[in-house]
Amino acid sequence: MTTLTTALAPGSLPARAEASYAAKRRRKLVVAALVFAALAALPYGIRDVYLQNVLILTLMYAALSQSWNILGGYCGQVSLGHALYFGFGAYATTVLFVTYGVLPWFGMLAGGLLSAVVALGLGYPCFRLAGHYFSIATIVIAEIGLLLVHNWDFVGGAMGIQWPFNPDSWWTLQFARDKIPYVHFAVGFLAVVWFVTWLIEGSRWGYWWRAVKDDAQAAESLGVEVFRSKMAAAAVSAFFTAIGGGFYAAYVSYIDPESVMSFRFSLLFALPAVLGGIGTLWGPLVGAAILIPLTEISRSYLGGSGNGLDLMLYGVLVMVVALARPEGVLSLFRRTRKARNEEATP
């Protein structure tokens, strides 16, 4: 190979840039540790069970939206069918626990692996579709999945499955008297997905995925394996979405097809990331912190979730963000920082 770069004297500019980059990456970890520690402490200050429930759901959707963000935000493949993987996780965990006595921890893992494999199988044909066609295909596939589960008696069909009542325990993830352990599980889940995303951001996959999102043809010319990138992103994304499904099943302790696989979930995974900032580390949490409490309030005031009013509310919200801030709420802060940088450079 030509030795273009080794022929260069190692200038001080690259060396300095490298050091400041490493420091910046470490700083992000420290900030994250502080944020997650604060979130874990939060329920001790909130004794109200209703508010604790909102907190748990917010954290869970933040983690699920981050999982969606791995494929939709970083790699640019906008899935509106992630309810399928959420359902797989919920059903795998529930059936394995209720029917076979397998602890939910293992059930989640099984559901996650199953979802990753299914994502690869579906990605094989779907990733040959461009843009909107891909999104439409994901909606259709998830709806087919919902129909199949509806008619599958082994997993309870339309009736669903009830978790048995057990004493509170971290083994079975069942806590009837105190919701704080669920908060902690949700924080842990969010922290894990955040950390994995942080790792990916600094790795070749992260750069490849963003390159694929921005311009697949330019990416290919620079050695990026576009198809493999999409497949890998889909597998990781599906895996964590299923883990969230397993957690949700344990939390609500009763599942049926509509309550874990409806299209509403697919929207609820995508929207926080879109709202907060797509393809960013904190966008999904910021978006979920705005959207999920709003959802719960609208549920109490507008009554139930069956009338689709809340979906309309999300639609309006996302349209407002898309028009005013296409890069999400987080970009409000980034703009000011960029402006500052520009002042600094002559």
Binding site: M1, T2, T3, L4, T5, A7, L8, P10, G11, L13, P14, A17, E18, Y21, G202, S203, R204, Y207, W208, R210, A211, K213, D214, D215, Q217, A218, A219, E220, S221, L222, G223, V224, E225, V226, G279, K338, N341, T345
Partner: protein, 248 residues
């Protein structure tokens, strides 16, 4: 690394044809590019120059013919595989990754050589330094000025560690002083041993820079040779340079 026999060209395009439906974008093109040359690819708009770049870099596959790179038939290889083997390109309309900053754009190229992020980043920073863009490393790619965008295209391609670099109109639309700076960069790249094929319209720029020129017209090779011979070629004058040039 095994080097091919000294007489083997770095790149050989062997009777390549590409059709888009009824339109023949490249018709029976044959070319040889020896290692170390700067080759100018000339011709009017629509002649098939960018299409030929797409065929060499693997964006398109030829309808007929073969492409041989370093003695190996690469006609069936994917674009990323060709990149790893040492072919890099820029695009006529710059295609930066606009959600990334400048150095991140170049890191993507660096990963063609190194799987490790630290190594890819080091390559990217050094390449930016080489390309004169180090001071813009942290700028968002979408906010670069046009000449900076062109430089970024070149830097990103260079970071992949190419033996053959395809430059598609990287100097077009620049002011004379910007173009002069661009020419210096191309010379600097060539001096490191990288073979260059470049598309460029301004003859004042092409003539002193390239070792050899090839003129395409309607997808065919119309003329080929030393730039001073090519501009005197009767067919080239009528098809491309125009009567004005003959008079001058």
């Amino acid at each position: 690394m095994s080097s091919p026999v000294a007489t083997d060209p770095l790149l050989r395009i062997d009777h390549v044809t590409l059709r888009f439906g009824g339109l023949v974008a490249n018709a029976d093109v044959s070319l040889e590019v020896p290692e170390g040359q700067i080759l100018g690819l000339l011709g009017p708009n629509g002649a098939g120059k960018s299409t030929l770049f797409n065929l060499i870099s693997g964006t398109y596959r030829p309808s007929e013919g073969r492409i041989i790179f370093r003695g190996q038939d690469i006609t069936g290889l994917s674009a990323p595989e060709r990149c790893r083997r040492g072919i890099a390109r820029t695009f006529q309309v710059p295609r930066s990754f606009d959600s990334m900053n400048v150095v991140e754009n170049v890191i993507v190229g660096g990963f063609a050589r190194h799987a490790s992020a630290a190594a890819a980043r080091r390559v990217a920073l050094e390449t930016l330094d080489f390309a004169g863009l180090a001071h813009r490393a942290e700028a968002v790619a979408g906010e670069l000025t046009p000449p900076e965008k062109r430089r970024l295209e070149v830097a990103r391609a260079l970071a992949t560690g190419p033996r053959l670099l395809l430059l598609d109109e990287v100097l077009t639309g620049l002011t004379p002083s910007e173009a002069k700076a661009g020419v210096e960069l191309i010379r600097k790249v060539a001096a490191t041993g990288v073979t260059v094929i470049m598309v460029e319209h301004v003859m004042e720029v092409v003539m002193p820079l390239v070792d050899r020129a090839v003129v395409l017209h309607l997808g065919r090779v119309l003329a080929e040779g030393h730039p001073t011979e090519v501009v005197r070629h009767e067919g080239v004058i009528t098809a491309y340079l125009g009567e004005r040039h003959r008079a001058a």
